[in-house]
Symmetry: C2
Subunit: 268 residues, 2 copies
Amino acid sequence: MNACLINGQALSALAISDRAIAYGDGVFETIAVKQGVMPLWAAHYQRLIDACSQLDLPLPNEAVLLKEIDALKGKQVQAVIKIIITRGSGERGYCPPTHPQTRRIVQCLPWPEIPQAYYTEGVSVIYCKTPVSQNTQLAGIKHLNRLDNVLASKECDEKHSAEGLMCDSLERVIGGTKSNIFYVREGRLYTPLLNQAGVLGIMRAQVLLQAQALNINTHIVPISRAALNEADEIFLTNSLIGIWPVTQLMDKKFPIGKLTQQFLNRLD
Amino acid sequence: MNACLINGQALSALAISDRAIAYGDGVFETIAVKQGVMPLWAAHYQRLIDACSQLDLPLPNEAVLLKEIDALKGKQVQAVIKIIITRGSGERGYCPPTHPQTRRIVQCLPWPEIPQAYYTEGVSVIYCKTPVSQNTQLAGIKHLNRLDNVLASKECDEKHSAEGLMCDSLERVIGGTKSNIFYVREGRLYTPLLNQAGVLGIMRAQVLLQAQALNINTHIVPISRAALNEADEIFLTNSLIGIWPVTQLMDKKFPIGKLTQQFLNRLD
């Protein structure tokens, strides 16, 4: 049984009137606990605040969240903390209550098993047929409307692929089903512009910060499949998995390049 | 307290591990009960089956659903039946279980209060700033990823507008926040093509059937704001509200036209 607190109470079920169930009306964060602490807490909390602001949800209190997380994780060295903020209960109908009473769901979940080879030998990825959902007002936000990621993940599972890439309606690469993508070409670092779709990942931001520190020429731009295919190096990021070098994309092989290795070493 | 059955059991809360909460991984139907019966049941059930098929969800059994609906609505003359089919519980992560155990949520909810004037004098509608979410694989389906409708509804509420129109990234009109849109121009009937976004409404299908019976020239095509602005008549459809004539769109007035009146009379 996984531990769960809903508004501070140990509960395993959510009121059926909650708008997360009806409309996916809420946001979430998935946070790595390593050596008993959450090294990227500040970034996750900031993103949660930004997401709530963008969706006009009341902001969760940091001290309350931290207290609840602490109570759930106890002395666990490695775990995953998942926070969901919903717009709470409402009547039937899309229109949200004027003064929503949000629900704060905090869970402590097991650390995922990831083969060590994913880091040392890289992963093989496919292009998913499921397109990414596009909406300028929802782009970047880690909200609860994730059917596109679900369907794309299913494709990966069926093809025994560690991860799959999702594209928008113009065949621009947006990211993996659960990760952001970077590629290196002639010493420059590229990652997709996420103003139409995708999630602004916490590890993506870490890579961009490191690239700044390392004085690497960085481009946040729309990325075509053709451009990605000409990459010297490709890697994926996610705050739980860290960095996965991509050594195969569909039929084409890629090496684990120098820059990828550098980020792997720095962001372990 | 509204009556609710989850997989046949009287429950008011959903297991926190349900994928509807985490990812909006499910579909729904909202069905009118009039004079104690559901006149459009067959169409709703067919759409539910189609939606489940498209999302690869196990299909709900019709007899079981009808039995549960009957138990909930009892002798109520007018009510709303809401069905949600979720992909059930799963581990953390987008990837769905190989053999999902879906949850069937059936609720009987109060009939909404709708001013009679909406039918006799028409409604005034705005263009929402929130764009509609676009995804060719999710278009048409009444799934649980409805944050775009939620945000657009909020705009309508704030502007005291009965309904608001949502457009895609190319400024094509897709529909209302909770309705489909039709317009009439020189005796021809137009409604948006929903291959990129929107929901294939049950009342929309009824209007299209009636238009066939009436031998009305009908066009299911992409619709620009400019084209809509040149309409002779505009109306909205939804299986609960039926048909609402639009008599004002932003600053422009429209009459309740002859065809709109004809559909109003036929689809009451």
